[in-house]
């Protein structure tokens, strides 16, 4: 079973990477939608949309890999988490429907139709971000599971001040990613505006991350112990090993707030992704080794060994290939979007 435990850990890492890629990539798509109401006019909104239109679908596929991968590799975790987070997951899916079709429909709508799809794109992005925050918050605080391994709680268990805080923070974080992407992809007035958004959102995201980090410590005593903290004392040797994480996060936020000048213009976006990575690692450290917090480890929740192995045979060649052609598509659309960004 040693091999089995290793297999399940490999898949836990792969799924964690898929979810992170989703957050880093579709995060800026959602961020653009969140920032839509702050654009000056229709022309600017068209530019913003053109900056993400060729890649959003590929970005969203990482979410499908995250969900599908969880089903395939950890059916017990999937079966426990999905019913527990039923309502926020459907809220996310419904919002993603509006967001997704608006990419196409905005071009075809006339007058009121175009206005409505502009609204639907923005509202869909905001609601999807909120819902993902609620899912994440509900996940971190854990779900009640019965003896049969199935969800045993109520429909609104996920709705707590903690999950609302996480949701608000994720909206700020995605908006930061979106603003950084705009710095990379646009020029002129919109570019200047995006610079200012980055500055403001760096502060907001720093505050939000700090608040979520502190609140996470209160979720379960095991998390606090992991960080070497109790209500009254600090276990310095333990805390010192993890202290670089919040320090790096602080430094990144400061760099973004200082207005990252000079080239390359992708730097702010990469910094923001780094910020998310630090937060993500911090979360992983807090919850390790659970895949359903405080209830199931990857080995507990894993599919049969032969299923994990069979999938690994596909994932090993396919994931590098997927990354390669994804990178190629990004390279193809590397230029800044023009004012008259042509559709089709």
């Amino acid at each position: 079973m040693v091999f089995g435990a290793e297999l399940s850990m490999i898949w836990a890492v792969l799924i964690a990477v898929a979810v992170f890629l989703y957050v880093a990539l579709d995060g800026f798509d959602l961020g653009v939608g969140i920032l839509f109401p702050f654009a000056k006019d229709t022309r600017e909104r068209d530019q913003m949309q053109s900056a993400i239109a060729p890649v959003w679908d590929g970005n969203e596929t990482w979410l499908v890999l995250g969900g599908g991968g969880l089903f395939a590799a950890f059916p017990k975790a999937y079966a426990a988490l999905m019913p527990a987070l039923y309502l926020p997951i459907y809220l996310m899916l419904l919002a993603l429907i509006f967001r997704g079709v608006a990419f196409e429909f905005r071009h075809h709508g006339r007058g009121a139709g175009k206005k409505w799809w502009t609204f639907a794109f923005s509202a869909g992005s905001i609601v999807a971000a909120v819902a993902q925050g609620l899912v994440l918050g509900g996940f971190i605080q854990g779900v009640s599971i019965g003896a049969d391994g199935q969800f045993a709680g109520g429909a609104l268990d996920w709705l707590t001040p903690f999950s609302l805080l996480v949701a608000a923070s994720l909206v700020a974080g995605y908006a930061l990613l979106g603003a950084c992407w705009m710095v990379f992809k646009t020029r002129g007035e919109l570019y200047e505006r995006a610079r200012n958004w980055v500055k403001q959102l760096a502060v907001l995201t720093a505050l939000a991350m700090g608040a979520v980090s502190l609140a996470t410590l209160g979720v379960d005593p095991r998390v606090t112990a992991r960080w070497g903290l109790t209500m009254t004392s600090v276990d310095w040797p333990v805390f010192a090993k993890l202290a670089p994480l919040p320090l790096i996060a602080g430094a990144v936020c400061f760099a973004l707030w200082r207005r990252w000048k000079g080239e390359p213009l992708i730097a702010p976006y990469l910094l923001a992704v780094g910020l998310f990575a630090v937060g993500y690692i911090g979360l992983a450290v807090s919850l390790f080794p659970y895949i359903v917090p405080f209830a199931m480890t990857p080995a507990d929740a894993a599919a049969a060994d032969n299923a994990l192995e069979f999938m690994l045979w596909g994932a090993a060649p396919m994931l590098p290939l997927i990354l390669a052609y994804t990178a190629y598509v990004y390279w193809t659309f590397r230029a800044k979007v023009d004012d008259d960004a042509a559709y089709h």
């Binding site: 059916p75 079966a79 079709v101 799809w117 598509v329």
Partner: protein, 459 residues
Amino acid sequence: MEWDALLLSRLQFAFTIGWHIIFPSFTIGLASFLAVLEGLWLFTKKPIYKNLYLFWVKIFAISFGMGVVSGVVMSYQFGTNWSVFSEHVGSVIGPLLAYEVLTAFFLEASFLGIMLFGWKRVGPGLHFFSTCMVAIGTLISAFWILAANSWMQTPQGFAFAEDGTMVATNFAEVIFNPSMPSRLAHMVLAAFLTTAMVVAGASAFALLSKKALAESRVALRMAVLMMALVTPVQIMVGHESGVVAGEHQPAKVAALEGWWTTRTQQPTVLIGWPDEEAERNHFELSMPGLGSAVNNAGPDDVLPGLDSFAPEDRPPVWIVFWAFRVMVAMGVAMLALGVWGAGAWALKRLDTSRWYHRALVLAAPSGFVAVLAGWITAEVGRQPFVVYGVMRTADAVSPVSAASVATSLLFFIVTYAIVFSAGALYILRLMGKGPDTDEAPPTSDQPPGSPIAAGVKEA
């Protein structure tokens, strides 16, 4: 009937997959059509093909977008609404769905970006390559989803683990389960026909309203060719699929045929009103003995009727019976239109037969109707099992509250009503406009090498 989480989840699944299936069944065929058009354009350099490509790619973009968003829903529904199912079969069909994401979804989604937005950014060769990748991606996707779905129809290659969950004993057997080859072929051909019917309908409409004549004539010919050649093949494949179902899912076949009694010389019931209480068909119009023959049984072979199965093991007969008839009726209609079109083509009347054009416009949605009816036949026919003979649908449902499911179902109905009617509006609007042409109609409406002089004079 109790409006509990089970019934509501079943309604929700039927509703969401019913909407979803419309889009892949159109885009699978349309992606291949686009690849052929672009290939023809690169090969012949005739602008007609380019104009057609640029017209249909817009419709593809809208349909694909709706397919993606409704498909993302499907990938989470197994867990939210059918968590016991997910836990029990995850080790068997989970990997198939993971392979679908790895081999198909990323391919489609990535190259779709180049296909839709790369017209001026990449060379024609690479653009064509992207179109082909999207088309291949849709077919790979169909392969995996039909493998998983067919396993639920005719499960094999698995065993039960100690904790009651299923594990695969042989993944090749799981993937290539008995009903998979015929069901995959049936679905892919259905997708091609669905697209052909839409292309034919839109082209006929353009001809009727005298728009983009050269392009519409070419597209009409391609669609008629597809109809005339593929419909007969599809009917044979469908028959094969029925024979496999007869071997492995006799209750489904008994329900779709409307057979209540087990006997030799089963009839073909053309029409009737199945009554589950009385266990018979009212107003039955049938042809004695033909049913056995159609199902490849000899005159002395006993074929099971619904009385061979306990009432709690029978699928809902009325739905399966009627859905099957609707599907067959659509197939017959397509066959007739294919034959009519081929005849008109041979007599050089394809571009002038206004009655044929009107019939095609009317029949444009027939592929969608057939796919939906076929899907209902297959899926409702599998009931009361979610994995045929192994796991009951009633045992698969999540421990969620009926209120949660009712809420999500209500929101789905509202959302899909808004989104899909807007999508349909935009697609119909594009179709009404027709392809952009480089030529100025009506003076240069003569497609190269096509004998349409008579039609033009008439017009």
